[in-house]
């Protein structure tokens, strides 16, 4: 009980610092996810459209996901140096798999009859993709985005090891100083961020699913 009160007091005293760390954390994740969407969606569509490229693209993003996070960041450190940009690149690689894979599955899963109808009424392949196949794959993409966001929030906590910021800084100083209160003051907001991201994106996913379900 005393511990909780003390933790509460610490968090209240350092609230502005914690808020700025949280914001930093959120931005790292947003940049990474944004980048992953820009690169991942076209890759997923390409994999779905050009069947020959699918195994190559999918195994590549799979391999990226398999590298342990700390190792990945260490490798990136060699090429991109210390700093937030390296963290963002690392998070981007981690977010790629769920986004690419889900876009691929989403486009592939579009009902053949709907595609045939689109083709039959005279849509060009591009119109078919933009008006029919991509919009219908959005519920799948949202599910991928949700997974990617949660992973990115978690992985971002090790950012300080390679010169990044975010809530990891608070957690790592707690570990280094062997101070529980410091540690929890970072870990609780980080966990909350992951849960909130999961809930919000879960809602969005549900909404898109409901809209597109047939």
């Amino acid at each position: 009980m005393e511990f909780i009160i003390e933790l509460g007091r610490y968090m209240a005293d350092h609230s502005s610092e914690l808020v700025s760390l949280t914001i930093e954390h959120i931005f790292m994740v947003l940049y990474a996810i944004g980048l992953a969407l820009i690169v991942g969606v076209p890759l997923g569509i390409l994999a779905a459209k050009v069947e020959k490229l699918a195994p190559l693209i999918l195994s590549l993003v799979n391999i990226l996901q398999l590298i342990p996070s700390i190792a990945m960041l260490a490798i990136l450190l060699l090429y991109f140096g210390l700093g937030t940009q390296t963290v963002v690149i690392g998070l981007f690689f981690y977010s790629l798999l769920p986004i690419v894979r889900n876009t691929y599955v989403g486009v592939k899963e579009v009902d053949a009859s709907v595609t045939e109808a689109g083709k039959g009424i005279g849509m060009t392949p591009l119109q078919l993709l933009v008006k029919i196949q991509f919009p219908l794959s959005i519920p799948f993409l949202m599910a991928g985005l949700r997974v990617a966001a949660v992973i990115a929030v978690a992985v971002a906590t090790i950012a300080p090891y390679i010169g990044g910021g975010g809530l990891g800084r608070q957690i790592i100083s707690g570990i280094n100083l062997q101070n529980d209160i410091y540690l929890y003051a970072g870990a609780i907001p980080a966990a909350a961020l992951a849960i909130i991201a999961d809930l919000i994106l879960g809602l969005v996913e549900k909404k898109t699913k409901k809209r597109f379900a047939n």
């Binding site: 009902d111 009859s113 709907v114 045939e116 109808a117 689109g118 083709k119 039959g120 009424i121 005279g122 849509m123 060009t124 119109q127 008006k131 029919i132 919009p135 219908l136 809209r211 597109f212 379900a213 047939n214």
Partner: protein, 371 residues
Amino acid sequence: MIQLKKINKIYEDGFHALKDIDLTFEEGKINVLIGPSGCGKTTTMKLLNRLIDYTNGELTIDGKRISDINPIDLRRQMGYVIQSIGLFPHMTIYDNVAAVPKLLKWDKQKINKKVDELLKMVDLDPEVYKKRYPNELSGGQQQRIGVIRALAAEPKIILMDEPFSALDPISREQLQDELVKLQEEINKTIVFVTHDMDEAIKIADQIILMRDGQVVQKGTPHQLLTSPANAFVEEFIGSDRLEQARGLPPMTAFVDEDFPYAKIDQSVEDVITLMVDHKKDQLPVVDVADKYLGIISLYRAVRATDKTVQDLLNEDIIAYRRSAEVEKFVASKDTIAPIVEADDTFIGVLDQDLLLENLHDKFDAKSGVKS
């Protein structure tokens, strides 16, 4: 007019799907392609919008070779209705119906007007349905949307690939009736694929029966029923239907011109009296110019004497032309068959006693059991 001359389709694996097909799909008619699965009927239809290209032969639309027409343009000029309906689930009914006009870049007002008009044509209130999504509609309603989507850009040709086969029997019959009724208004060249002989007899102007990539017989439903070309045709049509149809005189022979009818401006009570006097439970209704409007039934009338004849009118029962074949009525599930001139002027009603007598005589002659 669509003409196929010596069309062959050979797939890469050597499968000979179509063999020397010679066909004419006539303008403004419902042409039904029918046959067992794998006979090439769907393949033949898909040649017309180039979803499949033929290997050799010549296919022309209004004299123009189809291979010279850009497939995208070609498809936009043709309506296409598919079996699984294929509405776009993420678009509203409005956007679904407007799909082709939008591709053709019509202006918004024109599209809006057209969508309203089409929805009304299939008895769906535009205000209620325009903003809904396909999954909020019943199967029958969805396929009505599928049909009007094909009509939206005013194509001359409409391709229908087993459009009603996924529906329940009641919706199917309704949509078949509606299609026949609709065709009288729109007069399109319709190419309709089915495997259901009842459906073919009911809606077709021309039936093309196929087997193993070849045309076995083509002709009006009457021709197929009365003179099947060979044992396969007989078997496919089925002995029941052949029995029914063999030698039946045309509709004209059964017109009961003395059948009473109601006028649209009469009071419901007068109409009830008329029905009771003549011992009829339903009467055809005509407008002031003697044009056929629909049917009024006694059961509905007695329960709603405060309403007008217009309110109680059942417009789903279609009238038959004098020249129509009796088989069309026999194949339908209607209990009354109003008969009209080409301009919808009411002539009378199909005399069912006479028809039954006729059928009865034939059965007796066939079975040889009863006297």
